[in-house]
Symmetry: C2
């Protein structure tokens, strides 16, 4: 059986209270007692039960992380950074891959609440459904508007979208198509689309938008992308709102005998390490993933620790264009 505080106390010949005090370094304890207790702890290989502590302290030091899927390299890398920063700060991470399914998100949210998490980082789509604000729980969203009171952190999507669209324009593209995820909600990531549309309109063009499922489903992605070639055979520029979409498009372009960038210029979004390694030729808008993670945790922790200094409602971190050879 795992030793408990009582066992340590007996072995050291003191009360549980005293053991607790040396563990938490609280109150006065004589050096002698402290040593006795520490020896007993070592001898028994004792370490405290954080479940019991959490129950008493009403503080779990656990942060819930809800996102679509760590399979997507953007979220995989974001998760890595988030978790790493949490560990550094003494927080633990409970992971939830919701695949943007509303029912799963609801279940996950309830699970997190039952587990008394101190805060939640949300990177999923579904808005409103989850009353994140109802429970007075610390919540920070990554690139999603969840409610007026929930801070949002993300890259400067509008700026990134503008850079992408303008690069294609200035490259002389005449028929520029946007490939975006499905989703009706007005989320910051949607600003990439908005920026594209604005650039198009400013140049007297009509936006052309295709939506494909975000989850790995190469077949249905292919089908949608194929339609671009039949419906817009003159396509010569593509802005994909993430690098995976860009890659899928480039694959399809090859199948249709189109050369990139010769006949069609392509630019993506995200610029993950993974995509940069596997497809270094891709021109893309790089998000500062580590900074996004850091900022989100900073804000969340401030909320958890009750720092009432208003945290900014929206933080837009600067993007960078990474020039490959595809645009």
């Amino acid at each position: 059986m795992k030793p408990k505080i009582e066992d340590v106390a007996k072995l050291a010949g003191v009360s549980p209270t005293t053991v607790s005090r040396v563990m938490n370094n609280r109150g006065y304890i004589s050096d002698e007692t402290r040593e006795k207790v520490q020896n007993a702890m070592n001898e028994l290989n004792y370490f405290p039960n954080d479940v019991a502590r959490s129950l008493f302290n009403k503080r779990s030091n656990i942060i819930g992380l809800i996102l679509p899927t760590t399979s997507n390299p953007f979220f995989g890398e974001l998760t890595f950074h988030l978790e790493n920063i949490c560990a550094e700060m003494g927080y633990k991470v409970l992971l939830c891959n919701s695949l943007n399914a509303i029912d799963k998100e609801e279940k996950y949210l309830e699970m997190l609440l039952r587990n008394q998490v101190d805060g939640i980082i949300v990177g999923t789509h579904n808005r409103g459904i989850l009353d994140y604000h109802k429970q007075n729980l610390a919540v920070v969203a990554i690139d999603r508007y969840l409610s007026e009171t929930i801070p949002v952190v993300g890259s400067d999507n509008y700026e990134g979208g503008t850079m992408a669209a303008e690069l294609l324009m200035s490259g002389g593209c005449q028929c520029i198509v946007l490939i975006d995820g499905i989703g009706e909600l007005e989320t910051p990531a949607r600003l990439r689309r908005k920026a594209y549309s604005d650039v198009m309109k400013r140049n007297g063009r009509a936006p052309i938008i295709y939506e494909i499922p975000e989850v790995f489903d190469r077949q249905s992605q292919q089908e949608v992308i194929s339609r671009i070639f039949s419906e817009h055979p003159d396509v010569d520029g593509v802005f994909a709102t993430n690098d995976l979409f860009a890659a899928s498009f480039i694959n399809e372009a090859k199948r249709h005998g189109k050369e990139v960038p010769g006949e069609i210029k392509v630019i993506g979004y995200d610029g993950t390490e993974t995509a940069q390694t596997l497809m270094p030729e891709l021109t893309t808008i790089k998000q500062p993933i580590a900074r996004i993670a850091r900022t989100a945790i900073d804000i969340l922790v401030k909320k958890i620790e009750g720092d009432m200094k208003e945290s900014p409602q929206e933080t837009r971190l600067p993007v960078k264009i990474v020039k490959g050879t595809t645009a």
Copy 2:
């Protein structure tokens, strides 16, 4: 304040015991009482505190997951599947990215133990250091030998390595180089290297092995890979033990003016969805990631639930060669 069982009991006019019983569906309760209690729970928007439950039950229903980093698409996808299966089975996942750093692993392990996890899935390198077996805790390793008693699940590394090496041999390659991660330990993933060496020897060749750091560090990876070209200018075949390495090599080959597959054939390992999307031309050995996850959880859960039917010490799941155009 969050309502507790006592609040529900008062509102429903029953004892806490009864509330607990209807929640857990244990013992006899009249339909009338059940309804009263359920109404009260709804009215108060009550949900149980799992921390308190865990304390009493000595069962947290939490599984710890220790792996190098979810930034690597293999682990990103593995994590997704593991978490998903856990959620399905009512387990929660506490995530730890150790980057294979021993000190971090030790801290994470202690953290998981303090949090009373029911079991741990380990996908990191460091062996021996962690006395996983000392605590009698359910542990399953992914592709790592941790101790004689800890079950290992992974792809059939030896078979995969053999397939890769033989494909290069049969493609007529004369100077075949292996690119592998750093690490001295005898781990199942090392069987990829072993298989390569065996194939080489069987064909009267000397194995040529280069080791590069696994963590994203494009510069130092590049340096090592560059050495291949100076030290083995006649290299015409490369087996990289993961797809990221393969991609890095291909990038370097281009910089050195070498054509793939014309002058050098390249084959990778993992075959993640991400790599297949971003680099569909890569020939690679595909691991059955979802099956690895499923198998690992099945074994772990059996151990947790005390199913004493010996679980297999080692499970090798079949790999598949995905023929792209690089080899």
